[in-house]
Structures are given as structure tokens and as C-alpha cells.
């Protein structure tokens, strides 16, 4: 069974249809990248997987989105629970103005965990998972803002890992970072895909090329092509995709 199954999804902001009849399946432990010109609906689509779009008033979804076989838009779905299972990392690093430790522990605590020992252990584990442990283990009590941008972004990843999601969503996770930090994040994604299913939005086609197993190309709310990344970048089937990745677009 596929990890994520999207069928005939339409999405509306008020009267504006941002996504048009999208269907795609994502296998477990793969990295899938969404590319496409600005405003094509990548962010809208990725935010469907943890129902982040619910927060925007007057939005509407048609079609079905299944994670592990369960339709996440059906009635009775606990959105908070869903979001625990589907971690998200944002464009700009957004650590809370708390200590490094508290940042990572936040998700555990809001979900009612109190056991100190367990939290400590989980924090360490998550920081290790995000390849940040070595850099911060001596200053867990310091403010997260003291970290560099790249470290902050990895902290945000650690924070997402702490609540043991099975899916990680990343909306342009490296676009605010310098090339070196970007490389570190990409490496991390490469490592993480052993354990997580990762969906990543990126403006940077090379990044999509480097980190992802499969790539979906979006244009004006439609998914034009979805295939192995190698195929997309060497021999895409659609003219439109070809034009976009070779820069002939527009």
C-alpha cells in the first residue's frame, strides 16, 4: 500500500481553484519533490497533507487524501493527531523563543507527555536524527535563537522528528539558507528518507534533482507530470515539463 494516496483533489480558496484534479501516490520512505513556477499550487498541495490549509478561512477541498489508507478529510479525524503523524518544516527556520531543549520537547509536552526521562531521551534522539546533536549537546539550555540559520532549520527538523511522525513535509526548507547550510539540509534529507516519507517543495530545480526519488511538476494548479526524478530531468514526457526544467518556460 502506498503511504499517501491522493485522488482527484480539487482545492479552492474562496472561488479561486488553486488545485485541479490532482491524483498521485507516494510510496513509503521515498523523497518526493514538487516543482513548478511560483503560484502553481505547490505549497497549497503540500499543506493538504497535514490539513494546514484548514486554518485559512473559506477554503474547500474535494476528492480524497489517504494516509496509510485512511482518508484524512473524513469526519471524525482528529486534526491534532494527524499533525503529529505528519511533521512539517517551513521555509524560514522558525524555532520558538525557548531553549534548544524546550523547542524539541515542545511537541511532546503539548501532547501530554510529562515523563522527564523519556523526554530527555527523545530530545537527544531527535537531535541526533537531525544531525544537530554534536553541535548543540553542550548548550541545550541556551536559546534557539543563538543558533545559525542552518542550525535553526535542523532544529526545526529535530522538533518535527520528536513527535515521531511517519511523514515529513518540507516547504522550501532551504530557500532561506546559504549554500553550505543548504547542502547540510539536503544531506540530512537523504539520511532521513531511510525512516520517513518526505515530501519537499522547492523552487530550486537542482535541489529537487539532487534529493528526490520522484518529482512532480505543477503548473497553474495542475500536476503536469509525476515520474522518477531521473526521468523528469533527463527525459520528461511532457513538453511543458521539459520547457520548465530547461528554462524555456514563459
Amino acid at each position: 500500500m502506498n503511504k499517501i494516496e491522493v485522488k482527484n483533489v480539487d482545492f479552492f480558496y474562496g472561488n479561486f481553484q488553486a488545485l485541479k484534479n490532482i491524483s498521485l501516490d507516494i510510496e513509503a520512505n521515498k523523497v518526493v519533490a514538487f516543482i513548478g513556477p511560483s503560484g502553481c499550487g505547490k505549497s497549497t498541495f503540500i499543506r493538504i497533507f497535514n490539513r494546514m490549509n484548514d486554518l485559512i478561512p473559506e477554503t474547500r477541498l474535494k476528492g480524497s487524501v489517504k494516509i496509510d489508507g485512511v482518508d484524512i478529510y473524513q469526519k471524525g479525524i482528529d486534526v491534532d493527531e494527524l499533525r503529529k503523524n505528519v511533521g512539517m518544516v517551513f521555509q524560514r527556520p522558525n524555532p520558538f523563543p525557548k531553549s534548544i531543549f524546550d523547542n524539541v520537547a515542545y511537541g511532546l509536552r503539548v501532547n501530554g507527555l510529562k515523563d522527564k526521562h523519556f523526554i530527555c531521551q527523545k530530545v537527544e534522539e531527535s537531535l541526533k536524527g537531525a544531525a544537530l546533536w554534536e553541535e548543540v549537546k553542550d548548550k541545550l539550555k541556551e536559546s534557539a535563537f543563538a543558533l545559525s540559520g542552518g542550525q535553526q532549520q535542523r532544529l526545526c527538523i529535530a522538533r518535527a522528528l520528536a513527535i515521531s511522525p511517519s511523514i515529513l513535509l518540507m516547504d522550501e526548507p532551504a530557500s532561506a539558507l546559504d549554500p553550505i547550510s543548504t547542502a547540510k539540509i539536503e544531506e540530512l534529507i537523504w539520511e532521513l528518507k531511510k525512516t520517513y516519507t518526505i515530501v519537499i517543495v522547492t523552487h530550486n530545480m537542482q535541489q529537487a534533482a539532487r534529493v528526490s526519488d520522484k518529482t512532480a511538476y505543477f503548473y497553474l494548479g495542475e500536476m503536469i507530470e509525476y515520474d522518477d526524478t531521473k526521468i523528469i530531468f533527463t527525459n520528461p514526457k511532457k513538453e511543458s515539463t521539459q520547457n520548465y526544467i530547461t528554462g524555456r518556460f514563459g
Binding site: 482528529d78 491534532d80 493527531e81 503539548v110 501532547n111 501530554g112
Partner: protein
């Protein structure tokens, strides 16, 4: 599952309380407005607005008070606006960044924190007594100007600060001088926000009582002031007098309601104008 339920329940409770408290504020506001409007609306007519009080302030209108308030607004604006705007420009454009600006800003903040009655004291000591303007429109205006100065400075500064440095750089890079840049780029861009600030300052000035108690306001003047060194009546003071110290409370009450309503109308007018100005400029940028 348990924890989810707990989370949900506490959220419901908290949101309920928050909404309740918020709506009670709205209720209070509505009560105040309704109270004054309902009681005052009957009083207001053209005659009320255009005649002077009569019969020991138990009859007639509030015309001199309206005029006086206008004089005070104009007088204070004449002083506070140019000085305030220039001060704002100095702080944001000329003053070397760092200690000096911080000092000036601190001073401005401090000035704005001073209670209005202290301005009254000061105005009395300096303008009325020391400079012997006497109780006069001039003394009152200057006092009110000082009071509104921080507001003008701050809005100017904020408005200028909101303009990205890149616009200035763009201008310099085209060979423009600093003054040219301010005049042609920075100020025009800041104008909408500055204007809004100025209008709000006017609103504030029009409602102040304490500063003019001892610098300007007259209990009763049947005729209009003839110069800046005359006293004048003012709406807020007039209301105060009507409400607290009168000869015949019963007869004064309706006039007081009317005066209060006029004051509130001014506030409404100011707020609406500010909003309209803001919208107008915002649209101008968008539409074009």
C-alpha cells in the same frame, strides 16, 4: 485519546471566557455611545450648534465652544505639525544612528508619557505667567501643541522608518542629494501614514481638557475671541463645567448631553477621516 479530549475541553473553556470578556467590552462601548447618542440627539439642531449659551448656561447652544475648539486645533497644529514633522525627519534621516537618536526618542517617549494635567501646569507657568500671554488661545494652543508633538513626531518617524532604505539608495544612486531624496521620494511615500497620524493628533487635541483648564479655557464667553491673546471656550471644558458646576443641573443636563454628543461626533469624524485617508492612499497604490 484522553489527552486529546482534555486538550479539546480546555480549549472550549478558554475560548468561551475570552469571547465573553471581549463581547462585554463591545457592550460597554455600545452602552456609552447609545446613552449619549440617545439623550443627546434630541438636543442637537442647527440652533444648538450656532448660538451662544444663554440664561447662565441653562439655555442656548454651544457655538462659541465649537469655535474655540477649532481655534485650538488650528493653533496647535500650526505649531506642532511643522516642528513635529521636521523633528521626525531629523531623527530618521539626519541624526547619526545610535545614541543620539535613542536619546531623542527617549525624550519624545517621555514627553508623551507626561500626563496632560502636567502640561497644563507647565503651560500655565511658562506661557501664561512667565511669557505673560495670559489665559489665551495662544497659550492654550502652545500647550496642546506640546502635548501632541510626540504623537506627530512618532508617526512621522514610524512612517519614514517603514520606508525601506533601498528606496533612498535607489535615489542616491541616481545622483540625487539627500534633500532631493527626502523631498521627492521619502516624504511622499510616508505621507499617507503621516497624514493619518496628524488626523489622530487633531482628534486628541480636540478632546483634551486638563491642559487648557488654566491656560485658555473660559467658563463662559458670550462673544467670540477676537485675537490669539483672548480666552476662548472649548467643548470639553464646557462639558466639564456643565456636568459639574452649574446653577441648574436639571436644565443643564440636556445641553451637556448635546455637547458630549458633539465631542463624540468629532472623534467619529476624525477616525473615519483617518480610515478614509488610509484607504484612499492604499487604493491609490494598488489601483494604479
Amino acid at each position: 485519546m484522553n489527552i486529546t479530549l482534555k486538550k479539546r475541553r480546555s480549549q472550549h473553556l478558554a475560548f468561551g471566557i475570552v469571547s465573553l470578556l471581549t463581547y462585554s467590552i463591545v457592550a460597554i462601548l455600545i452602552i456609552i455611545l447609545a446613552f449619549i447618542i440617545i439623550r443627546g440627539i434630541g438636543v442637537i439642531n442647527w440652533e444648538f450648534l450656532s448660538t451662544a449659551p444663554t440664561d447662565g448656561m441653562t439655555g442656548g447652544g454651544i457655538f462659541p465652544a465649537i469655535v474655540g475648539t477649532c481655534y485650538l486645533i488650528l493653533g496647535s497644529a500650526a505649531f506642532a505639525f511643522p516642528v513635529g514633522i521636521m523633528s521626525g525627519i531629523y531623527m530618521n534621516e539626519y541624526a547619526p544612528k545610535g545614541k543620539l537618536v535613542r536619546f531623542i526618542r527617549m525624550m519624545t517617549n517621555n514627553l508623551s508619557g507626561i500626563p496632560s494635567i502636567v502640561f497644563g501646569l507647565f503651560g500655565m507657568a511658562l506661557f501664561v505667567n512667565k511669557l505673560s500671554f495670559g489665559d489665551s488661545i495662544l497659550a492654550g494652543s502652545l500647550t496642546l501643541a506640546l502635548l501632541s508633538l510626540p504623537l506627530v513626531i512618532r508617526t512621522t518617524e514610524e512612517a519614514l522608518k517603514a520606508i525601506p532604505y533601498s528606496f533612498r539608495e535607489g535615489s542616491y544612486a541616481l545622483g540625487a542629494t539627500k534633500l532631493q531624496t527626502i523631498r521627492r521620494v521619502t516624504l511622499p511615500m510616508a505621507l499617507p501614514n503621516i497624514t493619518t497620524g496628524l488626523i489622530l493628533a487633531v482628534g486628541r487635541v480636540s478632546g483634551e481638557t486638563a491642559p487648557i483648564l488654566f491656560t485658555c479655557a473660559a467658563y463662559f464667553l458670550p462673544q467670540l475671541p477676537s485675537g490669539v491673546l483672548d480666552q476662548c471656550m472649548a467643548l470639553p471644558y464646557h462639558l466639564y463645567v456643565l456636568a459639574t458646576s452649574g446653577t441648574n443641573m436639571e436644565l443643564q443636563r440636556p445641553i451637556a448631553y448635546g455637547t458630549a454628543l458633539v465631542l463624540i461626533m468629532i472623534v467619529l469624524l476624525v477616525n473615519i477621516t483617518a480610515t478614509v485617508v488610509r484607504r484612499y492612499f492604499a487604493n491609490k497604490v494598488k489601483m494604479n
